[in-house]
Symmetry: D3
Subunit: 332 residues, 6 copies
Amino acid sequence: MTTPEFEINRNILSGNTADYEIIRTGEILREEKINPDVVVDFTFHDDGILCGITEVRTLLNLVLPEKTGQAFSLEEGQEVKSGEVVLQIKSSYASFSTYQTAISGILASCSGWATAAKECFDAADGVPVIGNPARYVHPEVVGMADFSAAVGGCSSTTTMAGHYLHNLTPSGTMNHSFVLLMGDSLRAMNAFDKHMDLDIPRVALVDTFSDEIVESIKIGHSMKGRLRGIRIDTPKSRGGVTPELVKEIKSRLDNEKLGYLDVIISGGMNPERIRQFVQSKAPVGTFVVGHYIASGKPKIVSADIKSIDGINVGKRGIIPGPASNEGFKQIH
Amino acid sequence: MTTPEFEINRNILSGNTADYEIIRTGEILREEKINPDVVVDFTFHDDGILCGITEVRTLLNLVLPEKTGQAFSLEEGQEVKSGEVVLQIKSSYASFSTYQTAISGILASCSGWATAAKECFDAADGVPVIGNPARYVHPEVVGMADFSAAVGGCSSTTTMAGHYLHNLTPSGTMNHSFVLLMGDSLRAMNAFDKHMDLDIPRVALVDTFSDEIVESIKIGHSMKGRLRGIRIDTPKSRGGVTPELVKEIKSRLDNEKLGYLDVIISGGMNPERIRQFVQSKAPVGTFVVGHYIASGKPKIVSADIKSIDGINVGKRGIIPGPASNEGFKQIH
Amino acid sequence: MTTPEFEINRNILSGNTADYEIIRTGEILREEKINPDVVVDFTFHDDGILCGITEVRTLLNLVLPEKTGQAFSLEEGQEVKSGEVVLQIKSSYASFSTYQTAISGILASCSGWATAAKECFDAADGVPVIGNPARYVHPEVVGMADFSAAVGGCSSTTTMAGHYLHNLTPSGTMNHSFVLLMGDSLRAMNAFDKHMDLDIPRVALVDTFSDEIVESIKIGHSMKGRLRGIRIDTPKSRGGVTPELVKEIKSRLDNEKLGYLDVIISGGMNPERIRQFVQSKAPVGTFVVGHYIASGKPKIVSADIKSIDGINVGKRGIIPGPASNEGFKQIH
Amino acid sequence: MTTPEFEINRNILSGNTADYEIIRTGEILREEKINPDVVVDFTFHDDGILCGITEVRTLLNLVLPEKTGQAFSLEEGQEVKSGEVVLQIKSSYASFSTYQTAISGILASCSGWATAAKECFDAADGVPVIGNPARYVHPEVVGMADFSAAVGGCSSTTTMAGHYLHNLTPSGTMNHSFVLLMGDSLRAMNAFDKHMDLDIPRVALVDTFSDEIVESIKIGHSMKGRLRGIRIDTPKSRGGVTPELVKEIKSRLDNEKLGYLDVIISGGMNPERIRQFVQSKAPVGTFVVGHYIASGKPKIVSADIKSIDGINVGKRGIIPGPASNEGFKQIH
Amino acid sequence: MTTPEFEINRNILSGNTADYEIIRTGEILREEKINPDVVVDFTFHDDGILCGITEVRTLLNLVLPEKTGQAFSLEEGQEVKSGEVVLQIKSSYASFSTYQTAISGILASCSGWATAAKECFDAADGVPVIGNPARYVHPEVVGMADFSAAVGGCSSTTTMAGHYLHNLTPSGTMNHSFVLLMGDSLRAMNAFDKHMDLDIPRVALVDTFSDEIVESIKIGHSMKGRLRGIRIDTPKSRGGVTPELVKEIKSRLDNEKLGYLDVIISGGMNPERIRQFVQSKAPVGTFVVGHYIASGKPKIVSADIKSIDGINVGKRGIIPGPASNEGFKQIH
Amino acid sequence: MTTPEFEINRNILSGNTADYEIIRTGEILREEKINPDVVVDFTFHDDGILCGITEVRTLLNLVLPEKTGQAFSLEEGQEVKSGEVVLQIKSSYASFSTYQTAISGILASCSGWATAAKECFDAADGVPVIGNPARYVHPEVVGMADFSAAVGGCSSTTTMAGHYLHNLTPSGTMNHSFVLLMGDSLRAMNAFDKHMDLDIPRVALVDTFSDEIVESIKIGHSMKGRLRGIRIDTPKSRGGVTPELVKEIKSRLDNEKLGYLDVIISGGMNPERIRQFVQSKAPVGTFVVGHYIASGKPKIVSADIKSIDGINVGKRGIIPGPASNEGFKQIH
């Protein structure tokens, strides 16, 4: 993964997205001329995969004082336990207080997506997982959701916005609308084959009009070896995609000397369902996971002042004093 | 609510956030000169509150042909059942296919947030609910999350980004960091009182250093009637906020002739916990809900071609033909 | 239903199928010259549908003394509660003791089947149910299982052996083997149409080679109005038969002006699944139920002496004395 | 076990018990002169104990062409897993298609009984189990149920019909009716002792009139060493037979120098209850199991054409081609 | 119920049974000359039946100042909800502080017993319940447990110690030891009949040696109408006492013209089991309940100062100020 | 533990607390001049800790014939399994029959308390447990409950009545009433410090008026090293005492150089909650357990005659003959 290039937009930098109470009390502190050096710890309140640190670093590099500000953090993609401090900022309070909401929000949502992706990755036990959250998250964050999916272990995602951040080749071939518009699965595949660059893998979508296997065999023979795989997205009302279906397809494709075709499956995939495929040894080539990753619950990340001008403090209910964490790397 | 002003950013308009297969097959269709008039139905696959239609309308107004394109939808905030079609677009396929991912994503995530907010609103049974998702969602979507919370029934949210969309006065007074920096709850309140405009309600945060009631009474007396309420955010390790605590606080405030103070509570609120307060008749003034709204699971919204040049179609597993819905209003 | 003609075979009449202890103690009683007039009650220990009384009557008419023996029973198909006496025999002990095992066995197994059929009948709420237990029960009892299914409410069953007992027209058209051997679903249907009498309804089996709907429409159009229905038996690995599938099929058939076709479904049907179809208003024409009826658990029927030469008796744990039951009809 | 002698009755041989659709399509195929060589696999869809193969072999030997027909199967009593092929027939289709229903039915019901018996046998952990299904199954199949119980591990069953098939000595001594008719448990035992051959073990039934132990001791002393055991069938309303009861009985019998008496128990026995006796070390001599074996759920056995004139086939949902199974023995 | 005569023993009056911290701090307060007038509320923290007030009144009348002390309480046997104040004492602190532990303890344990008895009483639905806790509680409190059982609804208990408090005739006839020592149930009954006053009801214990019914009938006939009832205490290993057993006994007694005999049952009775008898309409004459009543969990009763010299107070977590309760009666 | 001095009161010795049927049948046996030598076994029907044997020995030594009576028992505090005989008395029946109810009751209730205490002791894993049942049991048995708690492993209890039996120093310092009456936690502690002997440990109760930590630190500094610990009894409405609270308190005390203070916790403690503290390594100094010990369910102890004049007997349901138990020690 090369370094992603996150842009922090004006809305965030101006404080518009901050909890307003932070802005207000910031003004009072200015009036009162209170601006000590503080240490703020960002603590995880759940187990999960840390994600968003790269974007947070981009933000902090824009705002923290170059000399007097310091920040330390765990690494993108690291496993974190509940109660662990993942980010520690040491600087004058006024230099970064405005951005606490944004930092918490980035870490919370990206870690939620990355953790969900990681669960799928672990369940898949070596079979590639493609992350496909784009149609379930707001388009403003499609890139970040894709990036988080990659941090969680996805070998690819499906948008250019994601590609600009994680630099992996975007995945995806054709959809049901295309097949419907072409009027026939084979005709759709042929058109795809005719117009697409040769380095784009030919993968047929085979459940639009008729039985998956009937369509697969027809297209497979017609494409004479140029077909790389088939994608199955059987709707729930037709039984969805099951391990038995994948086994039968592979067996019938073998009978037809089409055993080289990969079977790519999508449709309501999640760790539990992926595990069923893996445990029953269904010969899946790739899992595509969308809604489960998009639904990754935000991890709760709290920001707490732990030291003021070198004196350990902590609000009631918190053990006072900054945390130390062996895994900390300096990021500013 | 005045009309919010959503801006659709370049990334979305350029197709960067679309599922790449839509872009690819769009190119093929262009090459093949296939561009029929289609009807595409956007169907909910869950029960919930519809949200995001305002932003979708803004997008469609930018891209659909002014004369030949049409769009119909249900209304922002409407209750929707699983299987219901919430949006129907009639236009040439090429005119809007690029934006199907974005439209699905806006509706999925905003409806997820609005539904979660609505559950809290219903549970609160008339007591105001403030939505506070900002620190749990990515800052790019803080405004939309706040807007969705308002659609779901929140009487206010906590950021300016939200305010620009839903036009409600942002809520929020002070945070624990401020109190820690001021070194004393009363001193913090006094500074707030001194510097803030008079139309901003004075609400004390009373659990930073000592017992909530000890602090409340001290500040209440000191503010001599200018205090409007107290905010309780007792940490879990101190028992969290409970109905019994709220009852005891109100009773002791009454004893001290401070019964006019509102009790605003936050910390892990969700519909179930809100119901406990309501059912046990704890005199809560306002509920503040953050993580539960931010975690609102995206509603699955699928986009399906139902008619091509006037002929009913549908992929396998779908009943062919466009839906009709009495609730449809034309939005383009 | 005309009177069925049961035959009682030699094995049963000779006592070979009786519990041997009954034979042995019969011999001793003969030696001891003990043969009082007794009343024996046959009691149900479960709730359920009584079945087998017709066959039991046939047996009793063969063995009971014409003048001195008497038998009373509830009626075939009647609902019975646990603890109810369903049959009462009054005669000299030696005249029928040999047949107690057979009588209990007939009532136990036939009532088990009939009860299972009744549960399906009730769930189907007016939609016809065909009983198809033949391939799950021993061939020696296929007729009795079919008869019991009819007593439980099935409008037809699938064997001639059943027909000879309940006199209903046997149901069934073609099987998957036939379609495989003909090599094509349409060719199979045409052959059926060519050779079968005109009074046999034409029903196509449409899931052998390809998608159910693709095959249905092809055959439907080809048969030009002579097709009466289609049978769906989608295998579990392809999602089985679901309410959504039936709805989609009917909708697509309607689109093709084939809406007059009945949809007959089979495959793992049981009361719970039938109820799902009925509750979701899937337009099913007929349910076919096999394994569930065949698995109807034998109802426990105990035979107890309740009176000896006019004196009330009962083994320990039994309330002594013959039962009276308003529903009793004399059958001998 | 010597070879049992099954007789296949006329009803079965004539096709009366076959699913009628098999008969009908057989006629069409004859008309169409379609009669290829096929391979039909009979597949188990449950785990269980295979039973019925002996009877099936008898049937196949009567109907399959002597030279061109072949059949292979697993062995009677073998443990089978779901998905395993237990019988494979290779022959011209017309030569055996009529009997597929009967073959499936025999295997389904006999394997159901044998599996239930095996579960009891395993639970009993070495203590003999007597199978007593006769009063819960239809008398036509009492012999097969007894045979299946023996295949599942029962050391004896209770009817002559069973004996003719499995050749084990039938078990059983006296029943409650006998004791009631004799008017006294001791008098009943004495009559039994007087009239029965000496090689028949004397076992007293001791719960008809009074306390089990009171009766046991009275009879035990009276029989002066000729008593072999006692049978306990305590009704549920008197607590049923429990491990504690068996322990107390043995202890009191020991006190009376009657410790040599076996305790044979019956009444609602099933694997779970048997395990309770075994685990609590109750000194049970023999378990008698009736209803549980008779209720053995038919195993689903499907018959599928897997090859037609040497070409692998299979209906949709089935992996095409005949199975191979290392356990196959040729039976024809 | 006449007024019971509780005696408060020296140990209690001397403070030996008080929590020692009360004694210690009492000394300090004396040294500091702090002895204000206080109001102490005794609050229930469970739902239940209030019991022990009579004994507490006896104690308070011994120790509270005759003129300046006051006490108010709910009534013996009243139903109380969690959070309700059951006793309120107004006096100088030193006058009764020593006895707070004892008062709480009396109310806690007696209310626990009474509540358990009440649950049985309610379940019995009009059939008398005899309380028999004596063998499960410490003999020092047998009288109080019996008294509490009577408060909870028992129509009698089994000890003289109880009788002295609640004045009901003690219940109980003979035990298994007696029958064993007499060597025969009938002989035991005859001896009882011979030596006991005529006003003591003759009730036979009939499960010591043999079957309950065999013994009942024998004794019933022998006593020629002088027998009032039979007591059944069938041990668990013999099935315990069940509704079916009671029904069979009554039916067989009826057959023998002994239907006038009451059936008194004991052995592991509790509300759930009692309900089973009542719901199945088993003709039980009396239920005897021992262990369930003795196990009545102590109700938590806390004592809190609510007012000091007329000023409302309360420790943290308590709403300050004395409770008012419409049900209060003055008891001192 | 030195020998405790139990006193058996007149009520018990006179038979007033015995089940009245024992008294009555005792009279009959006297009249009948039946008084054989018997062996009576007292059997546990639950698992648990034996307690009460010391008091039972005191009673037996008062009543058993010095020469001809014998008694054997397991030891105070021993673990006992269900079905084990814990006490065996050999004597003439009349010499002790009156006391069977009392003996059973002592063992039942004391073993119930001791078992509950032992569960807490085991859960505490080495941290001391103080037993505090006094306010939940009747004051007549406060001493026995404290004694039983000590037998179960408590290192101290809270009343003088307990001290007289188990000889451990009673525990306890101050209560909330004391702090309320002193008006301030620090003032209360100072008064305690001033008046109490120096060998009594100074432990502050710190949750009466304000936050536990605020009060602890204030008192800790003021007492200048003379404070031994703090007691936390946070009410449920304030979150109760949690592992996190204890950790935070210790951490803040450490910050203040007050890390030497023990944290003593009370309030709804039971084995499950104690385990939570132990497993999360919260630095608890002492657990105080009251209601859980007081609620220890009486263990069922039955008394059965097993031998009469040397002949083994037993009522129905009991294995006849005296038990032998390797653990028996002679106690009379």
